[in-house]
Symmetry: C2
C-alpha cells in the first residue's frame, strides 16, 4: 500500500461552489492531488489512498479520506473530485469516520490524532524541499504514507507534529513543485521500483 | 528549451462552457497538460512551451500555443487554463499564428505542417507506451519536443505523420498514465539531468 496526506491550510470545511475551487481556500490543489494519487489512464490505483486535511473555516479540522480500492465514479477533472469532496463536507461529522459515498469517508480530527492512527499501518514520510533525494531512499520504504503541504507548506506547529511520527524527510526535485506534481513523481518512482521498469 | 505537443482528438474548436470541460471533447485533459508543462510551485517554466492540437468540431484542426516565457496570469487550476484557451478559440483564425493574450497564440494548421515548422527548432520525440525507457535516452536529448495523445492516443494516420519526423519513441512508465502525468514525469526527468539532482 501507499498513501498520501495533503494539508490544505485554508481549504474550506463546508460545501463550496464548484465554479470557484481556488476561492474555496485552494480546494483546486486538493482536487488535483486526489486525481494524481489515485488515477492512471483509464484506471485506478487500488493500492493507494489519500487523506485530505482541511484546515479552513468554518470547522477546522476535517479529514476526507478517499480509498482507491473502493471509490466509484472518480474522474480525473478537478470538478469531479470537488463534487465528491463537497458531498463529504455536507455531512454532519464527529470524531468517528463516516462514509459519504463509496470509498469516501470524512471525520473531524486533528493532525496528531490522524497521524497516530495512520502510523499504525503506514511508514510516515515527510515531503519537504530540503529532504533527502527520493531515489536514495525509495527502495527501503514499506507501506509509505507521504505527508505534504499545499502552496503554503506546513505551519511550524503542524510540522512539529509530523516530526513526532517520522524523521524521514524526503525531496523529489531541485525545483519547488506543486503538491500534485510531487504526488505524481512519488507514484512514478514507486512504480519503477515495483516493476523494475 | 523543451516543448510538448498534445493531440486532443475530439477537443472542440469553438468557445465552450467552463462548467463542463470534459464535455468539450475532454478539454480538461489539455488544461491539465498546460499546467503541468508550464507551472511549478509559485512559478513558471520559462524554458518550456506547449502546443495543443484540437481536432474536434466545428473547425478541426486548430493549434493553441502557450509560451512559458511570455504567458501572464496562468494559474494551475483547470478553469484558468480553460479560460485562456477559450479566449484563443473565440478568435477568427487562418493559417498564420495570431496572438490572443500574452504568450498565447492560435492558428489553423494540420499536424504535418505543424511538425514541419516545429522540427526546425526541436528534436521530435514520440511518447508511446511501447517506447524506450526515458531514462535511457534523456541525457542525449537536445531541445526536445514530446508528442503525446489524449485518452484516445494518436490515430493511425496521425501517428504515421509523427513518425515522418522522428524514429525516437519513448515511454515513461510500465503503467498506462494520463497525458498530464507523462508531462510531469518528462519535466522531472529533464530537471534531474539539468541540475544533477
Amino acid at each position: 500500500m501507499r498513501a498520501f496526506l495533503v494539508i490544505g491550510n485554508k481549504v474550506v470545511t463546508r460545501p463550496f461552489s464548484l465554479n470557484d475551487l481556488p476561492g474555496a481556500g485552494r480546494m483546486d490543489i486538493l482536487c488535483r492531488c486526489v486525481s494524481q494519487s489515485l488515477l492512471i489512464s483509464h484506471g485506478i490505483r487500488k493500492d493507494s489512498e489519500i487523506y485530505l486535511m482541511l484546515l479552513g473555516e468554518p470547522e477546522p479540522s476535517k479529514v476526507v479520506r478517499i480509498v482507491g480500492s473502493e471509490v466509484k465514479n472518480l474522474a480525473p477533472d478537478e470538478r469531479n473530485a470537488a463534487g465528491l469532496i463537497r458531498k463529504a463536507l455536507s455531512m454532519i461529522v464527529g470524531s468517528e469516520w463516516k462514509r459519504s459515498s463509496p470509498g469516501i469517508y470524512v471525520v473531524k480530527k486533528d493532525l496528531g490524532s490522524l497521524l497516530n492512527e495512520l502510523s499504525k499501518k503506514y511508514e510516515i514520510v515527510y515531503l519537504r524541499e530540503d529532504g533527502k533525494d527520493i531515489r536514495k531512499v525509495i527502495k527501503k520504504l514499506k507501506d509509505p504514507l507521504f505527508v505534504l503541504g499545499d502552496h503554503l507548506g506546513l505551519k511550524k506547529a503542524d510540522e512539529e507534529i509530523v516530526l513526532e511520527y517520522t524523521n524521514l524527510i524526503v525531496n523529489v526535485s531541485s525545483l519547488s513543485l506543486q503538491a500534485d506534481q510531487c504526488i505524481t513523481i512519488v507514484n512514478y518512482e514507486l512504480d519503477r521500483i515495483g516493476n523494475n521498469f
